[in-house]
């Protein structure tokens, strides 16, 4: 064995484990009420960004159905053409961040993402990747938001991995007002599907 490979193996570090975000993150991560500068907000796409503007609203609930008023939700998405980090798409980072209010509510305003390539030539229906952080959550919970008005959901390769009876927990429902509703149930009846990412 060479010295080089030996060193490489022996110095390979282990992953830094996750810990809870705790209840007191807001003044640093979502500091609007504290007058701090915000890294990202619930406004994912600035006015004027091309695409179908949508609003997603929801509430986070715990296993007793009690609203979770101290969670942080982050979203990550492609642009309407299905691109990440597209050059020249000013006003659109694809990244959203919101804390839940005291009633557990959150919302995002963005443009609807386009369809994406999946593995093996399959196509993924439009979706947002979601991280849920909260007191009592030791490791970020990963989920996805799909949209009820997308026919591509029926052939989406990720939704196909989810037991049919639970797929609805990943699909935001468009209401009469045009707003998409997406509640997050951390535990119990109607529990949201979470992924090992």
């Amino acid at each position: 064995m060479t010295t080089e490979t030996k060193l490489t193996t022996e110095t390979k570090p282990g992953l830094t484990p996750s810990q809870t975000i705790g209840p007191f993150f807001a003044y640093a991560l979502t500091p609007r009420a504290y007058g701090g500068s915000e890294l990202a907000t619930e406004q994912v796409a600035a006015e004027g960004v091309a695409g179908e503007r949508i609003r997603i609203e929801g509430t986070v609930f715990d296993g007793d159905g009690v609203p979770v008023g101290d969670a942080m939700i982050e979203t990550w998405q492609a642009d309407p053409q299905g691109r990440f980090h597209a050059a020249g798409n000013a006003g659109f980072t694809g990244f959203g961040r919101a804390e839940t209010n005291t009633e557990g509510g959150f919302f995002f305003e963005t443009v609807k993402p386009g369809a994406l390539q999946g593995a093996d030539g399959t196509q993924q229906a439009p979706h947002l990747s979601v991280s849920v952080f909260a007191r009592g959550v030791l490791v970020r919970l990963a989920t996805r938001i799909y949209f009820s008005d997308e026919p591509g959901n029926a052939s989406d390769p990720i939704l196909a991995l989810v037991p049919a009876g639970r797929r609805d927990t990943l699909i935001a429902q468009r209401g009469a007002d045009g707003v998409f509703r997406f509640d997050i149930r951390l535990q119990g009846e109607g529990e949201t599907v979470f992924f090992e990412a």
Binding site: M1, P17, S18, Q19, F25, I158, L161, F194
Partner: protein, 236 residues
Amino acid sequence: MSLIYPRESLKAHPLNASPEYKSTLKRAPAQPLILLPHTLSETTGPVFGHVAVNETDTDLTRQHAGEPLGERIIVTGRVLDEDGRPVPHTLVEIWQANAAGRYVHVRDQHPAPLDPNFTGAGRALTDAQGRYRFVTVKPGAYPWRNHHNAWRPAHIHFSLFGPSFLSRVITQMYFPGDPLFRYDPIFQSITDENARNRLVSRFDIETTEPEWALAYQFDIVLRGRNATPLEEPHDH
């Protein structure tokens, strides 16, 4: 360069179902997680290189008119991937209690004094070698209501993005030799002792500034490994 994200590494994390930490009881999912293939949605992520990080973002002792009370410390470290390579120009966000163990957050009810000269929030970008540096004060331990006479060991919260959705992590940095470790269900939720100890910073005499500040070093290893790992050594 293309990264892969072996799932095996996830064993370092605590389980969300860690009942000694009472807040998990109604918040940990009961259903098993579903394995998510790593598509473009997962292997990409936000980039914050454009975020202006100024001097007061990394020096938490200079965000107000006066100096905060407490023991001044310098916290440095490197952000690395699982192969030990630096993660350059990535965002590090931190927050912490003040020296008395009190957070600025409006819902913190611990009857310890707020410090008008300390907020406790910071932000840094790693340099080309993955290094970051903060100046702050050592946070105090504080009581919480998890169980009778429960106290959190002193800690600084860290939030990192790394190159993708998969490397995103929020964690806590602790201080060496804290007698509260054995009683803290959040620290103890990490069942692998080696992994747990990776959250304990190292006292760093080299980085201390004489007659000014003590120093601690905390390296952070994010998910992600080179797609073509070096050959493992083997006997011939």
